[in-house]
Symmetry: C2
Amino acid sequence: MKIVVVGGVAGGMSFAARARRLSEGAEIVVLERGPYVSFANCGLPYHLAGEIPDRSSLLLHTPDSLSESLALEVRTEHEVLAIDRQARTVRVRDLCANTEYDEPYDTLVLSTGAAPLVPPLPGADLPPVRVLRSVPDVDALRALVDAGAHRALVVGAGFIGLETAEAFARRGLQVTVVELADQVLAPLDPEMARSVQAELERHGVDVRLSVSLTAIHAGGAGPGENGAGENGAGENGAGENGAGAVVAELSDGTRLPADVVLLAVGVRPESALAQGAGLATTPRGGVIVDEHLLTSDPAIYAVGDAIQVTDAVTGQPAMVPLAGPANRQGRAAADHLFGRPGRRSPVLGTAIVRVFDVVAATTGRSEKALRAAGIAHGTVHLHPQNHAGYYPGAVPLHLKLVFSPEGRVLGAQATGSDGVDKRIDVIATAIRAGLTVQDLADLELAYAPPFGSAKDPVNMAGFIASNLLAGDVDLWTARDLPDFPENTVLIDVRSPEEFSTGHLPGALNIPHTQLRNRLGEIPEGRPVRLYCASGFRSYLAHRILRQRGHDRVSTLSGGLQTLTLCTPDLPLTTP
Amino acid sequence: MKIVVVGGVAGGMSFAARARRLSEGAEIVVLERGPYVSFANCGLPYHLAGEIPDRSSLLLHTPDSLSESLALEVRTEHEVLAIDRQARTVRVRDLCANTEYDEPYDTLVLSTGAAPLVPPLPGADLPPVRVLRSVPDVDALRALVDAGAHRALVVGAGFIGLETAEAFARRGLQVTVVELADQVLAPLDPEMARSVQAELERHGVDVRLSVSLTAIHAGGAGPGENGAGENGAGENGAGENGAGAVVAELSDGTRLPADVVLLAVGVRPESALAQGAGLATTPRGGVIVDEHLLTSDPAIYAVGDAIQVTDAVTGQPAMVPLAGPANRQGRAAADHLFGRPGRRSPVLGTAIVRVFDVVAATTGRSEKALRAAGIAHGTVHLHPQNHAGYYPGAVPLHLKLVFSPEGRVLGAQATGSDGVDKRIDVIATAIRAGLTVQDLADLELAYAPPFGSAKDPVNMAGFIASNLLAGDVDLWTARDLPDFPENTVLIDVRSPEEFSTGHLPGALNIPHTQLRNRLGEIPEGRPVRLYCASGFRSYLAHRILRQRGHDRVSTLSGGLQTLTLCTPDLPLTTP
């Protein structure tokens, strides 16, 4: 059997390696347009930052090593131009020799990936305007920085945009991030993304939300109105490599001078090859595959960022360009080709990013995604410590759990530092297994003081969500803030000391420890809104009031910690 | 309703707190024999070590704080002597006032815990011979250390024994650990425990296995034969607090002088109260409860270390004294009392320990436990890095997965440092959910280079186990080493450089990259045993040979890394 794989990273290379392990007899040819195969694309921003100083450590395999180890014939700088499905050949251009030839196949595997979107704006083709997807991309960015660029503009505040913004900042550049949405990190809900934005700002990154890039003008070496004079004449070293500086124009009229501009506004599936061959694709360009990763042509598989997948939570079609699913799709397709039970899995979209000292991660669906899809759900927020508070070094973890009215876990997001990845991985496993919030409450996780608590944050999230679904607690959130029912009694159950540092306007202070003795201060029959710092003490107060005849009580979900994330400019009253 | 809770830590306090949140009307009395309730018992060794310097941070609640917050009536230093089930009263002794009284109950909750085993040996009652379970226990140990003890003997190499051995060493003591078994950390399989033992020894702890304590003799201030002269006359400060030093006698005849001896040989359920009241208990003293944590008396619940639980993997009865299950049992019993769906869960025994810089964790059943129980199982070993190798700071992780012949995950163990807790928690979640090794292969975990790999160690474990179950690979282990079939060809598929640093006697060196060209060197029809460093290259070689007509091939599970853990004194040949 002759197998031709188009694309030699992630999905394509996983397919080729697995296929070889299943078949010594197959002839396997991997055609890669770029100069490298099997490189560490997720490591590119860290190489730009200098955290991975050795460029060669990004190159995990070479055509020679793959030939020796797996008897693969890997041809880099070979671009596939077209597929002839009748003849079962692909038309290949050797980009070095500048020649073309036809390569026959019995089975074709498309792992063509996704290309960074380049918006059709004036100046998007200027030399300092770059994307980051490949080793040559990072080489170009490093060259601009090494040549003295000191003002960077990152367009798009997704994972790659923020990793690259951090890399620029670590290299000493002044960095501005512009983002069309009103938050960074779109896969997260806005309140969960807030601490990432704050971390960027803490490190001097200028984050501008709800604004877009409209044009890029050449020759902006002089300081623009935002240049702040630091870009003195003659100091613009980026000009030395011939790229020159540019001025970016934003939708709000701002003009930002920059020596390097990274476009990180998303990716589009590279499906021109599939479309040209008449394979079924979606209107957005996703290659349509069946459960075994076969395209509409049974001799052609497709895997990785170019294919349409199924969202594991909603069951809806989705495009999820992530390394993990791409690798597993490659393996599954090879399994299927050789008669094994290989099938694609629905995708959770589990993802994580480190931005300076803050870690943010997500799995499953966000609250805003479910709301947009009209899918019923509940949420809880909590702010536990990553491990036992009495053991030194405990740091806060901000955790949000999203679940169905029946309790099935639908998603989670976490920010913090140590321990974020662990909790998201546990919940990702739980979602894959169809577990409920009650099951999370009951998980038996590894506990010793340096690692967790006897009641782990994941257990706590399960407890709180279970209480909500059981009707033991009602929650209010930032969305309810301006619209309390008439005559609502707002009670801050924190200590007087905490109350005096700032509280919600109109709140009465009754510490939860005094509540049983001060019930008379709460008029009967009135709605009661409780809050504390993180939601635990107000939950205790809630239980007291509900059992003492107050039946219109609710508690601020996640306490003031969540509220101030949702409403950063919330005015707090001090006496 | 009047609820009396016996025992104010973990399970008992979880019950009381949950009961109050479900019922403002209940009268809840907590009777605790010791001077503290709700203290951080898992933090005690860290306080001894000085890592948690502030003793008060171990005391999470006081009777006053519990009265204010939860309206609990907590009476410390009140010991329950007997239960009168007919009268529904308990007989209580006030240990301060030295008085007795009867306390009535409608519902009684026994959370009496487990007591450290003190073997009935001569001298076990000498002052320097201690256990570690409570705050007074750690106070006593600290006093011995502060008074100048400089030789510590720890009897028992379980979790508490090793945490305390580390604490002594951090305080500057010379530490010896003796353990009856032939390994430390009995819940782990021996090869997985080896790196923990090595870490102890690296820090100067003298670990003696397969030996037991037979007697302790008073007045050993002078150096014994193992005292090495360091305990010079007049320098034995431990004598200053009147405890004096002792000489421990071991089953192998060794006599060890020590200024402090910790007995950490296990615990026994504190079930005298239950037994005295005629409640059903097991021969080993475990209180028997139903699925709702009710004892044989429907007015009496029991939770925590004193009860018999069900092993989640085998379905067999078990005693598992751990904080996490105790807390959840307390909550579940309270739920059931107040009409909620509260029930006990089978216990996985998930546990973790940090010993100096090594972390070891386990969940589910070990290989040796399944073998002892006659339950069919397979295992795989792997040695991945904790995160992408190209990102700085990657450290090795040693992972063992145990599974049924049908692929259901039955257990896992891991050692290493960063990332051990995460992988065990993910697998603990998978076991709870009934997932298979194929499911582990397909988990979608959070990946960015500082946190993991696109194929996480958990995925890799799933891949390897799936390959084994699919018949794509056969494994050999240390147990097969002396008994290879006749005419076996043993092949080391590492590089010549690696081979030259030491290889198995009789091995032929054919690097896996040369195998396809050197097939002629392997006689047909002979059994072939392959190995490499970690098992991956020999797996590739295995696939080549199997498809080239060699049908009696097997690969060393986990490579030489696992083999040398299983057989530390394995003789390796060098040219």
